[in-house]
Symmetry: C2
Subunit: 147 residues, 2 copies
DNA sequence: ACCATAATGATACCTAGTCTCGTTAATATC
DNA sequence: GATATTAACGAGACTAGGTATCATTATGGT
């Protein structure tokens, strides 16, 4: 009997679903394990190729559940492609490197406050927003001042 | 001979393309006229239905040219659908009403400054961003304090 | 008027995602 | 542990939105 290593985070994801009444099925175990092992953001298609035994509809259904539960966040790349990424906190945004594709969480940003202010000025009742920030991460900056 | 009314803005859009070396063709005239007559945002599909004589590829090609030239901006609705809208100024953002679908340009917003600050704090070289703001416009707010 | 070629539209194709529906398997109850 | 209920599954058809191909047409320069 092979002892498969269960990543704690995967169990946690599954538990989150369980608390919402969703059953703990083996496709969901496979999906949550695969996601828990991911470093950066990924597409549904990548996940699908990694889990050929799981049906396509199930992949998409699981992603939706995890996004709705807050465990995953959607990331819109500059090229328009939608990726997914583990969400370690609540609502937040990403600094996406157009060079290496890495993403950093945007921390200590009072964009919400700013949006509330300007919304009020426009007599607009703010209910949500979508923000993505593109550029180059530190590792991808040209290291010297001249080319 | 029918005298079709040419909307000045349509000519202006066509001129913009002309300055970039693109020919003034009749499909492009049809597209720019249709767009010039639009009030709010619209989808490629709506434009296509309005112009059954223009090929689908041409609709998309024209939209791309106009976005690239800065005459149109893309607007991402909360449901994920991509719309287009005349761009009266340079880079800017929209307050999108989830009730009536209207959009206001977000003015006097120093989000760029804020993003530069926080990017610098993350040692991130900012090159672009995408922001959409969702909520209710003044007309769609409940008019009284109680339900 | 003529020419080079940009632009077009019909069509096939593609990617990402949803829907349907008959089958399977997870949980609750006994 | 057996049974019943029904959530969840997967195969596959389908859809929306958009792109690639390519033979034909129309534009703008001379
Ligand atoms: Mn994140
Ligand atoms: Mn605008
Ligand atoms: Zn990078
Ligand atoms: Zn409204």
């Amino acid at each position: 009997m092979v002892r498969t290593r269960v990543i704690p985070l995967a169990e946690q994801l599954l538990d989150t679903l369980g608390e919402q009444g969703y059953r703990s099925t083996s496709p969901r175990k496979a999906v949550t394990q695969a996601i828990a092992g991911k470093q950066g953001h990924f597409t549904a298609e990548q996940l699908r190729q990694q889990l050929p035994g799981v049906g396509r509809a199930t992949i998409y259904r699981s992603l939706k559940l995890l996004v709705d539960s807050g465990a995953l966040c959607r990331v819109l790349l500059e090229d328009g492609n939608l990726h997914y990424q583990l969400s370690h906190q609540g609502h937040h945004h990403h600094l996406l490197c157009v060079e290496c594709g890495s993403s950093q969480d945007l921390l200590g940003c009072d964009i919400e406050d700013l949006l509330h202010q300007v919304s009020a000025a426009h007599r607009f009742q703010l209910s949500g927003h979508w923000l993505e920030v593109y550029g180059r991460c530190y590792d991808c900056l040209p290291k010297t001042a001249t080319g």
